[in-house]
């Protein structure tokens, strides 16, 4: 049973350049932020190391940080440029009963994050959903296609600056 700070120390020792820092200021759960292209090796280490044994990924959620510059286009919808899209990983160890939260941020224009679906099988669909709703591109994912929205849908609905299409296959959307 390790606290998050101890886990952060172990990770910092193991991957000095990949682990960017811990954000313990928030009232609830400290957050370890990690470089997006190194996430896979860290996760393999987290899963296979004897003292940590994070054997199940509880939740992988994509978030649109919306911290870019807001501009208005002609119809009055604001468009965000720049800023980051981030992915939160909640890991849990079933046997040692401790949890950790990792965070990865990638630029909004071409958000590339290494896929972890070869570390935990449950990440496969979570990543497809993050891609489907937020457009985060997961590198060498088995088959990165839309999962919830129709396969021929354009745009990423959960982005803050998303605008509903007028018609879809002849049906009025709103």
């Amino acid at each position: 049973m390790k606290t998050r700070e101890e886990i952060f120390e172990i990770l910092k020792a193991q991957f000095p350049d990949a682990v960017l820092g811990i954000d313990a200021s928030l009232p609830t759960e400290p957050l370890i932020s990690i470089d997006p292209l190194k996430i896979k090796d860290i996760c393999v280490f987290l899963r296979d190391s004897e003292e940590l044994k994070f054997d199940s990924l509880m939740l992988l959620s994509g978030v649109d940080d919306a911290n870019g510059t807001k501009t208005k286009d002609e119809q009055g919808h604001d468009v965000i440029t720049g800023g980051t899209l981030s992915v939160y990983y909640h890991l849990d160890s079933v046997y040692l009963k401790h949890r950790v939260t990792l965070k990865v941020s990638a630029p909004r224009e071409n958000p590339d994050v290494e896929s972890v679906s070869y570390v935990w099988r449950s990440a496969d669909w979570h990543e497809r959903e993050a891609f489907d709703l937020l457009g985060i591109n997961f590198l060498n994912h088995p088959n990165l296609i839309r999962i919830l929205m129709p396969y021929d849908w354009e745009g990423y609905p959960l982005r803050k600056d998303y605008k509903n299409p007028e018609f879809y296959l002849g049906m009025k959307v709103n």
């Binding site: 928030l26 009232p27 609830t28 759960e29 957050l31 054997d55 199940s56 990924l57 509880m58 939740l59 959620s61 978030v63 649109d64 939160y88 909640h90 079933v94 009963k97 939260t101 935990w120 099988r121 449950s122 496969d124 669909w125 709703l133 839309r146 999962i147 919830l148 929205m149 129709p150 609905p157 959960l158 803050k160």
Partner: protein, 372 residues
């Protein structure tokens, strides 16, 4: 010697009697043997997360009902716990007890539907209707307290919408007494029926390490033999005050972790919930206003929280990020059915079409939760 038959792609499409709603399974079959299953979901994607960003904290509660519409009491509870942890609200003792009673009643009702439709997929019509008859009695209890049969909007952030009815306790005890013989009835009709065992033992075997790696939780994981129950291991609310044992599959009828085990774990869990409710009813504090801790305006501090609750289907997690104003910045839900549906492809290697239905019934998915 077997001549190679052509692969046929069979669509068990959105409208199918036993896909528990709008799920499309694309099967690649060879004669009767299934070689590949690709589930297609999204036919019931109702944009829950987009709604959460556009609404205030307490307006989101009715939408959580409609996600897992068979266990909506637990959805509210999960969301309420998350926001209470975010704002640091302390809920009075009586509310905690009522929430436990309602949650466990909802577990019995949800398991009744799960076991009933599982029997339906195997072809036994009658247990489904017996279990629905008892579920109706639970629904009348819910209707007495919060006026709704299926989607309650009952557990609010910081308290409850209504206090319980004066003779709610008496009627619940009557129901618990009358429910025990039903489980033995289902056991005789289904669990130990030779044809049922023939159809479900050694089918869809899920080994433990794959189950953990897939992130399976709840009866699906416990069916494979690991006693991992959030009410015991990651205790939330006042579950540490009740003693109940966590049911795990023992491989009684076939190998450990097969369809029969997952089914039998659910049947036994109904009895455990009856025990919990009886203890909760005994220790229920008589006085206490259930709406005392409900804040007028919920404006949580900046930050994020992830809470997990033991939903009848597995671990239901709420990940809420707040940026300080009254609307949540981002709400992400971890639905257990979404995770369990992923294993359909690997679990059904080398089975027949009739087993696909048995396996799908045993992992018990609800499409409202899968597609959110």
């Amino acid at each position: 010697m077997a001549l190679k038959t052509e692969r046929m792609v069979l669509n068990m499409g959105p409208q199918h009697p036993s896909t528990h709603g709008v799920l499309r399974l694309e099967l690649e079959i060879e004669g009767e043997l299934v070689t590949k299953v690709t589930p297609h979901i999204g036919y019931l994607h109702r944009c829950f997360e987009k709604h959460c960003e556009a609404m205030m904290y307490n307006q989101v509660v009715p939408y959580t009902d409609r996600m897992d519409y068979l266990a909506s009491m637990y959805n509210n509870w999960g969301y309420a716990l998350a926001v209470e942890k975010l704002c640091g609200i302390q809920v009075p003792e009586r509310v905690e007890y009522i929430r436990v009673i309602m949650g466990e009643l909802q577990r019995i009702a949800s398991h009744a539907v799960a076991v009933g439709t599982f029997g339906l997929d195997i072809g036994a019509w009658t247990p489904f209707l017996y279990l629905f008859r008892d579920r109706e009695r639970i629904l009348t209890l819910f209707e007495m307290t919060c006026g709704a049969r299926l989607l309650y909007n009952y557990i609010w952030v910081g308290g409850l919408s209504h206090d319980i009815h004066p003779d709610f306790v008496r009627m619940t005890r009557e129901f618990l007494e009358s429910f025990k013989p039903t489980v033995t009835e289902v056991n005789n009709l289904l669990s130990y029926n030779k044809i049922f065992i023939e159809r479900t033992a050694n089918i869809g075997v899920l080994p433990l390490d794959t189950a953990i790696n897939y992130g399976c939780t709840g009866p699906t994981l416990r069916g494979s033999g690991l006693a991992y129950d959030l009410r015991r291991d990651d205790t939330y609310s006042i579950y540490n005050k009740f003693d109940f044992n966590v049911i795990t599959g023992q491989g009684l009828q076939g190998t450990l972790g097969d369809t029969w085990d997952r089914y039998y774990v659910r049947v036994q869990e109904m009895l455990e919930s009856v025990k919990i409710i009886e203890q909760a009813l005994d220790q229920l504090p008589a006085e206490g206003d259930v709406q005392s801790a409900i804040p007028k305006r919920i404006k949580p501090p900046k930050g994020h929280v992830y809470t997990r609750v033991e939903n009848p289907r597995g671990e239901l997690g709420y990940f809420i990020i707040s940026d300080g104003n009254t609307n949540p910045f981002r709400v992400k839900v971890r639905p257990p059915s979404f995770v369990h549906l992923e294993i359909m492809d690997d679990l059904t290697r080398g089975h027949l079409i009739s087993d696909i239905m048995a396996i799908l019934g045993s992992i018990d998915i609800v499409l409202g939760e899968v597609d959110r």
